[in-house]
């Protein structure tokens, strides 16, 4: 089975950034993403879901290395200083390279 390498960028951040991040993803040219609701703890304290101002989301984007780079740079520039956010990436294999 022939597979192709792509990058999976995972972002965990404050739920109220969802709209803003989706706009960013569209502008950067991402062709798709997946969001799940999450909770957790990090440098900016505990974030429990269940109340609007609290709560995290977990965004996944499968894309080529260039977009992954652009995306991570953008997140760092725009959000790292002031928002609860972590980003990590790794390689994944996909079947339809033209899709991502």
């Amino acid at each position: 089975m022939a597979t192709h390498l792509r990058r999976l960028v995972t972002v965990v951040t404050e739920a109220n950034l969802e709209r803003s991040l989706v706009d960013d993803l569209e502008q950067l040219g991402a062709r798709g993403w997946t969001i799940t609701d999450a909770r957790g703890r990090g440098a900016r304290g505990r974030r429990t879901s269940g109340w609007e101002q609290d709560g995290n989301i977990r965004i996944e984007v499968v894309c080529d290395p260039e977009l992954a780079d652009k995306l991570v740079q953008h997140l760092r520039a725009r959000y790292y200083d002031h928002y609860a956010m972590i980003v990590f990436l790794h390689d994944v294999e996909v079947l339809r390279p033209d899709k991502f």
Partner: protein, 314 residues
């Protein structure tokens, strides 16, 4: 002024359960549902009464109340910045929270009036709508100036089409169009259940407040003092304005409560987007864990006395 309202006991139960780290929690979906129903109830009630007896000459009231919304944060800011020595973004953000309003506090005050049979101007829900946004705008301008960086378009969209404004105005409109008789079949959900739903809401607010209580001391004594004094001062201003506008005792009480309340939904969300440098824990702790409990436990009965003093003399 009479025994404690049982809905307030639900708040205390929530605080207690939260402080003891009980595993009691209300699902997020229920919290959202309960706030939606509360907002619609408040709006509908106002709309029905407007349909019954149209409020004339509202224009003056509207302008005056909006003006107050712009002024309050300007009064709070210098105190926060120079007495509290807070960084500019934090001072601006807290000022925005306290200039804006809390619908939950308003709902408790409405229940208070209902329980004691206090009449008020039925267009009072309009005040909530009018007061929510201006202070937030002022806070942002203080923090950032009229900078290009701020996406004013997106921001004002977010502000003016936030959940609470849409539901309050929507409720007002529906109540006004349908009128008292039209709404009768909806009474069971929006009016008969009002206090029960408010009780559930306050239970959850208690649990949330408890989660933030531990932060209170960490932020120092100034924040606590501010969270207790600001509502008193602002309620004083609100009541004075209410009196000047010729409102009834209930109207003065409600306007004082609104002025003295601090936002914990619209303001946090907006400041997070527009002034990310501000530490959200500061403003949320103050408004949620200090001012909200203070208002529903102590403030509202106090503002009632204040309103009586204005309307009936000392």
């Amino acid at each position: 002024m009479s025994g404690i309202d049982p809905v307030v006991l639900f708040f205390l139960l929530g605080v207690l359960a939260g402080a003891l780290r009980s595993d009691l929690r209300l699902p997020g979906a229920i919290y959202e549902f309960v706030s939606i129903v509360l907002l619609l109830s408040i709006g509908l009630k106002g709309g029905i009464e407007l349909a019954r007896q149209p409020a004339e000459g509202l224009a003056v009231d509207i302008v005056a109340v909006v003006a107050m919304g712009f002024v309050l944060p300007l009064l709070a800011y210098p105190v926060l910045r120079w007495v509290g020595r807070l960084p500019r973004p934090d001072a601006a953000s807290i000022a925005a929270h306290y200039g804006s309003v809390s619908v939950g506090t308003f709902a408790v005050a409405v229940a208070y009036c209902a329980r004691l049979g206090i009449d008020y101007e039925k267009y009072a829900p309009l005040f909530v709508v009018l007061l929510e946004v201006p202070a937030i705008l002022v806070g942002i301008v203080i923090a950032k100036g009229l900078s290009r960086d701020t996406h004013w378009g997106r921001l004002s969209h977010e502000l003016f089409l936030g959940k609470s404004i849409v539901l309050l105005l929507g409720g007002l409109a529906i109540g006004w169009i349908a009128g008292p008789e039209g709404i009768v079949p909806l009474d069971a959900l929006f009016f008969d259940l009002f206090k029960g739903i408010l009780a559930i809401f306050l239970l959850e607010m208690g649990l949330i407040a408890a989660r933030h209580l531990s932060d209170v001391l960490r932020h120092g004594v100034f924040l606590v003092a501010f969270g207790l004094v600001a509502p008193l001062a602002f309620a004083g201003i609100g009541s004075a304005l209410g009196h000047a506008l010729g409102l009834s005792t209930g109207g003065v009480l409600l306007l004082a409560t609104l002025a003295g309340s601090a936002s914990y939904i619209a303001a946090p969300a907006a400041m997070r987007t527009a002034v990310p440098e501000a530490n959200p824990a500061l403003s949320l702790t103050a408004s949620l864990a200090i001012t909200f409990p203070f208002n529903i436990l102590v403030g509202i009965p106090l503002y009632h006395r204040l309103a009586l003093w204005w309307t009936q003399g000392p």
